[in-house]
């Protein structure tokens, strides 16, 4: 096992990097689509029902099937993998953005409007900062999903740590399977840890203090 890590160290690094950036690009695109969409949905009730249903349905498509479905449209390689993973990351982020925006206290929102905020100011100054913790936990969840599913992207030629695992399966070499799986798991845990720190960092201080009255 240790021999495997030593012998393949340069390839492992390369594949890990590949895996990491496929996942992160997919996640980033997911965030860029899902957060604004979630904000819009939280403002339009009728649309939210339709869109959230569609994304739930997309979520139920088996991941391997979704990856395979990408081939007729985008061919093989990294692009279809990123698109498929991005679609997968949408639902948790969209859902949490929607819930986070909706659960902002009506009195707080009302007070902002009564002070003379425009709708946009209310979103930027009040609703988004208060929804941030919920949105961030959606992003964390998506990150872990995307990193583990990116393993399958190797199947359509995107590379990444999935290569080790699939090779291991084909060649019947346990250390390849195990080695790949361990690194994927570590990568997912690391991403979760870093995003957890980020979540703390972007959560407004006033919310972190909630409940801890000092005077």
């Amino acid at each position: 096992m240790i021999a495997f890590f030593i012998e393949n160290s340069s390839e492992i690094l390369l594949k890990t990097w590949e895996h990491f950036y496929i996942s992160m690009i997919a996640l980033l695109l997911g965030v860029l689509c899902a957060v604004p969409l979630g904000i819009i949905l939280s403002k339009t009730k009728w649309l939210s029902k339709i869109v959230l249903n569609i994304t739930s349905v997309l979520q139920t498509v088996p991941s391997l099937a979704l990856l395979a479905l990408m081939i007729p449209f985008f061919g093989v390689g990294k692009v279809p993998a990123v698109i498929a993973l991005c679609i997968y990351s949408l639902l948790p982020i969209l859902n949490n953005t929607f819930i986070g925006m909706r659960s902002v206290n009506e009195n707080t929102k009302g007070a902002g409007i009564a002070m003379g905020m425009t709708n946009l100011q209310s979103i930027i100054l009040v609703e988004l900062p208060l929804a941030i913790p919920v949105i961030m936990s959606g992003i964390r969840l998506s990150a872990v999903y995307v990193i583990s599913w990116a393993t399958l992207a190797s199947y359509i030629g995107a590379g990444g740590l999935g290569d080790f695992i699939f090779n291991g399966l084909n060649l019947y070499q346990t250390e390849l399977i195990l080695g790949g799986a361990i690194i994927v798991t570590l990568l997912a845990l690391l991403a979760d840890f870093i995003l957890g720190k980020l979540e703390k960092f972007v959560t407004p201080k006033g919310l972190r203090l909630e409940g801890g009255r000092t005077s």
Binding site: N107, A111, A114, G116, K205, G206, G211, R213
Partner: protein, 394 residues
């Protein structure tokens, strides 16, 4: 400054919330809208800053038609305080106070200066500016809520039952504070409440609303003296109508001479004075007879051995009424705060008198039975007796 003409709000489904409301409010007035729930008082208030759009009618603010103004601009020029306080939990107290100035794009220096100046107005230390709302008590939060409505020099402020969720003592303190600020800064305040005591205490004029209609709009004295109809009479309550009789009087007519001591005297001297005058409370004054605090016999007997002078032991938190205020106010304070007595001060804060529980009992007795033959207890007498019992019980 604010004229309301035929203001009507009909909600979808045909419920008439406000029906043909006509009011004219002058600059610097404190107006209370009062009524039972569903009387339309809150709807009427919320139409003034267009949080509720009127169905018909006209509102003129300083000669400009409110319904034709941009709602966002309008709201930035009107202060608003709500019962749920509604501070922004993610913003510091400083940012909360200067929320409207921020929307109006004031410079940072001007905002900071405003926040520092305002927080002193509500007796909170400037260090609180860096706190977050969750670190403050409910009463402190609502003080900030009030400041937020003042920060951009709004000269009209709407308050929707702002003290409804606070405990009675905090509420009483904030009522005094808001009245003081209103007089000092010459603000126009429109205040919604369902508490008649609050309305009588604060308002220059009270608008009594019922089922969307304005029933009576007059000064508290006139409403108590001449209720427009049976509804108003019932709303005011018979106990207030009776309280009103002695309350035509001011504290000056009933106050007694207080026993006071100047601040530099020793504790031994204070005790000698207490024994000599047979009192348990001494009022502490400075050289100019200005009220500084009080000494309570329970409070300092323990400290007698270790402390030498009055300045070390006296209680600085003293509640007082101003000379010329109505007797009713001091009755209410004595009852609410469970005080034994309440000192009376003049404009320069000089101690001029003292109203005690015993005084008030005498007055209530006089008013009810003074020039009447003893007869079967009437409703009014029963209310009077209740007041006396309450006084004695505490």
């Amino acid at each position: 400054m604010l004229q309301i003409e035929n203001l009507t709000k009909i909600y979808r489904g045909g419920k008439v919330a406000v029906d043909q409301l006509n009011l004219e409010i002058q600059q610097g007035e404190f107006i209370a809208f009062i009524g039972t729930s569903g009387s339309g008082k809150t709807t009427a208030l919320r139409m003034i800053n267009r949080m509720v759009e009127p169905t018909s009618g006209k509102m003129m603010l300083n000669g400009k038609d409110i319904t034709k103004m941009n709602a966002v601009t309008l709201r930035r020029s009107i202060g608003y305080v709500i019962q749920q306080i509604g501070l922004m939990p993610h913003m510091t107290i400083r940012d909360n106070i200067t929320l409207v100035p921020h929307l109006l794009k004031w410079s940072k220096e001007k905002k900071d200066e405003t926040a520092r100046r305002l927080i002193e107005l509500v007796n909170l230390p400037p260090s609180y500016l860096d706190f977050y709302p969750s670190q403050l008590s409910g009463g402190q939060q609502q003080r900030i809520g009030v400041l937020r409505a003042l920060a951009a020099n709004q000269d009209i402020i709407l308050m929707d039952e702002p003290f409804g969720a606070l405990d009675p003592i905090t509420r009483d303190t904030l009522q005094d504070l808001i009245k003081d600020i209103q007089l000092r800064l010459n603000k126009t305040i429109i205040f919604v409440t369902h508490d008649m005591d609050e309305a009588i205490k604060l308002a220059d004029r009270i608008a009594i609303m019922h089922e969307g209609k304005l029933i009576q709009f007059d000064t508290p004295d006139n409403i108590l003296a001449n209720p427009a109809n049976d509804f108003v009479k019932e709303f005011i309550g018979s106990h207030r109508l009776i309280q009103q009789k002695p309350n035509v009087k001011t504290v000056d007519e009933v106050m007694i001479k207080p026993i006071s001591i100047t601040i530099e005297k020793s504790i031994d001297e204070a005790i000698r004075l207490m024994v000599e005058k047979r009192v348990d409370t001494l009022f502490v004054t400075d050289g100019d007879n200005r009220l500084q605090g009080y000494l309570d016999v329970e409070g300092f007997t323990g400290a007698r051995r270790t402390m030498k002078s009055i300045s070390e032991v006296y209680e600085k938190d003293v509640f007082y009424v101003k000379t010329g205020s109505k007797l009713q106010d001091s009755v209410r304070r004595i009852l609410k705060r469970n005080l034994k007595n309440i000192p009376v001060v003049d404009e320069e804060h000089r101690l001029v008198g003292l109203v005690t529980r015993a005084n008030i009992v005498d007055i209530v007795y006089d008013t009810i039975w003074g020039d009447e033959e003893p007869a079967a207890a009437t409703k009014e007498e029963a209310a009077g007796i209740a007041v006396i019992e309450e006084l004695i019980a505490q």
